[in-house]
């Protein structure tokens, strides 16, 4: 897909993320908005192989949303790809819906249960080890939150994946610099973040997490079969990206706009989506 189409997809997803959460009156919007370009690049940029009509296809790539609270983005992607009907997004967190506030494998396209932080990288490492033992060529992509990297289990998994040369494992850190209530560097600093991953033996790419070009280049380096270690993409992002009042502000982790602010937000996102839609049609 060309860049304009990717831009439009991102706008399209942002509108659906916010619309879904506002309709439900619940949801982690800011943590979802920060990884929209990561999701668009991975799922629409030609890097991820999957069959929506056959979710359990053995040779599919696996995606683990380790920061499970960012699921609004993933739900919007899966619905758009055809894993389930787009109308189902309207059931998000309503009684009886499959689409809970954190994802589980009863949802087509979701590989594992997540929501408790620090689990996804280890599960991904296990999947990759299994694939290696089977001589399979599918890859596993794991999206981590940066606050999540305060969990010790992430570093156990990082050491394990490096030791076993799991080159079929790609971790992406949504480095939005915010945890649930405060800045990561204020709470328990992660820097020097890149050096930490390097010291654990990973191939590291630090990119602008809202740049399709930079994200594509980073994903591309895993497509070449010349490396012998796992790849981590440290994607510098802005939490709440796309809604000015929310961007980089700690209090929006699990808070929704209301009243005129909500109306204005939806209107602006819809306008952006329409604008880009017209542009690509021209």
């Amino acid at each position: 897909m060309n860049r304009d189409v990717l831009e439009w997809k991102a706008a399209f997803l942002r509108e659906h993320i916010v619309k879904t959460a506002l309709s439900a009156g619940k949801g982690h919007v800011a943590p979802a908005l920060s990884w929209v370009e990561i999701a668009v690049t991975l799922f629409y940029g030609g890097f991820f192989t999957v069959r929506p009509y056959d979710p359990q296809w053995e040779r599919r790539d696996r995606f683990i949303l380790s920061k499970g609270h960012g699921c609004l983005t993933l739900y919007a992607v899966l619905a758009d790809l055809g894993f389930f009907d787009r109308a189902e997004l309207e059931t998000f967190v309503r009684a009886g819906s499959r689409l809970a506030g954190h994802p589980d494998p009863n949802i087509p396209g979701i590989e594992v249960l997540s929501g408790s932080l620090g689990h996804g990288l280890g599960i991904g490492a296990g999947l990759c080890l299994g694939a290696q033992l089977d001589h399979s060529d599918w890859k596993t992509y794991v999206l981590l939150g940066d606050g999540e990297c305060q969990e010790g289990s992430i570093w156990e998994a990082a050491a394990f994946a490096s030791h076993h040369r799991l080159a079929n494992l790609v971790a992406i850190v949504d480095r939005n610099h915010l945890g649930a209530t405060d800045y990561t560097e204020q709470v328990m600093r992660l820097e020097p973040f890149q050096e930490r991953w390097e010291a654990f033996g990973w191939e590291v790419r630090t990119v602008d997490g809202h740049s399709f070009t930079q994200l594509s280049e980073a994903f591309m380096c895993n497509q070449l079969d010349q490396h012998d270690r796992p790849l981590v993409i440290l994607a510098n992002t802005i939490k709440g990206k796309g809604l000015g009042f929310m961007e980089g502000e700690a209090q929006w982790h699990h808070r929704l706009p209301i009243g005129t602010q909500a109306d204005a937000a939806l209107k602006a996102l819809h306008h952006r989506e329409q604008e880009l839609s017209h542009l690509i049609q021209e």
Binding site: S116, H119, G122, G126, L127, G130, A131, A157, A159
Partner: protein, 327 residues
């Protein structure tokens, strides 16, 4: 005689001959039986290092690729150390990750409370869908390992460190039933699990010489608890005594007490277990059992007192003794 651990690994070794999906992971623990498997199937044994949280997540990931994963380590470290990873990554997705926890109860007595597994049955037994198994001898261990493998779902198998006299012969264990009636007697029923089953048999022997006939049940599957059939086995006996090397809620005594309440059984249920405390210092199994009333002599005396007080129609306290001042 084989110990529990070697029996477990012999069973796994045997399964591996026919099923290449099987993997064994360990947190840097060794065993002769494991070495033997590693020699024949090097790609199927992985030392995961001392990182139990990651171990459980990796085990779940491997299980997602169609493998059955046995995880071997010290019981206390295999359970409470990484409870969240095992609960969510393996159990919530119903994956065949089977824990082999060596050192159940106070088997590592002198090594201190870091190595005691005396609350694990309650903690693990509270996980939905987990099969909790607690064999009492080497034969039942291998039968239980084979059965757990065939179930293809999460299971926790507790392994004692000591060598115990065999209780079973080949083919005599019914894992589907989950318990065995080892002896029948009309005066009381001793219900036990794991290594304490041997103590229950000793108690029954002593009581028999005094004219008291005791049934002995070995409940080797704590979860799912076979309430209905255990109910059939205990309901015609007026007194039930549970014996376990476990503390707190969720153990055998807890489950039996729930049974008594849930089915309104007219049976006197008396639970003998460890107190809820950390056993600091050189707490050998023998010493703690004696201190906590779980030695052969003390159990026998408590049962005699219990029966005596019941015959006298006295109101009994939790420890089976008559309440002071009450008739």
């Amino acid at each position: 005689m084989k110990d529990f651990r070697d029996s477990a690994f012999d069973a796994i070794h045997h399964i591996l001959k026919n099923d290449s999906r099987l993997m064994v992971l360990t947190n840097d623990m060794g065993a002769m039986g494991l070495d033997s498997i590693r020699k024949d199937y090097p790609a199927h044994v992985i030392n995961m290092g001392i990182a139990e949280q990651n171990l459980m997540s990796v085990a779940a990931g491997l299980a997602l690729t169609g493998r059955v994963v046995f995880v071997y380590g010290i019981a206390s470290h295999m359970t409470l150390r990484c409870l969240e990873q095992y609960r969510l990554d393996a159990c919530a997705m119903n994956l065949p990750v089977i824990l082999l926890g060596v050192g159940s109860g106070l088997a590592y007595g002198a090594d201190g409370p870091t190595h005691h597994a005396v609350n694990d049955m309650g903690a693990m037994g509270s996980i939905p869908g987990l099969t909790l198994l607690n064999p009492a001898d080497a034969f039942s261990t291998s039968a239980i390992v084979e059965w757990a493998y065939l179930q293809n779902r999460p299971a926790y198998i507790r392994l004692d460190k000591e060598v115990h006299q065999p209780l079973y012969e080949h083919g005599s264990l019914d894992c589907q039933q989950g318990f065995s009636i080892l002896r029948k007697g009309a005066d009381l029923v001793l219900v036990s699990t794991g290594m304490m089953v041997h103590r229950a048999i000793q108690v029954a022997d002593v009581l028999e010489s005094e004219g008291i006939q005791a049934s002995v049940l070995d409940v080797f599957r704590l979860a799912p608890f076979n309430s209905e059939e255990i109910l059939d086995a205990i309901q015609h006996v007026p007194v039930m005594v549970s014996l376990e090397e476990q503390a707190g809620p969720g153990g055998l005594g807890s489950r039996l007490a729930e049974l008594v309440v849930d089915y309104a059984l007219p049976v006197r249920c008396h639970r003998m277990m460890l107190p809820e405390q950390f056993f600091l210092g050189t707490a050998t199994r023998e010493r703690i059992h004696d201190q906590c009333g779980l030695s052969l002599e003390k159990i026998c005396q408590r049962v005699r007192d219990l029966l005596e007080n019941l015959r006298g129609g006295r109101i009994l306290s939790r420890n089976g003794l008559a309440v002071s001042g009450a008739k």
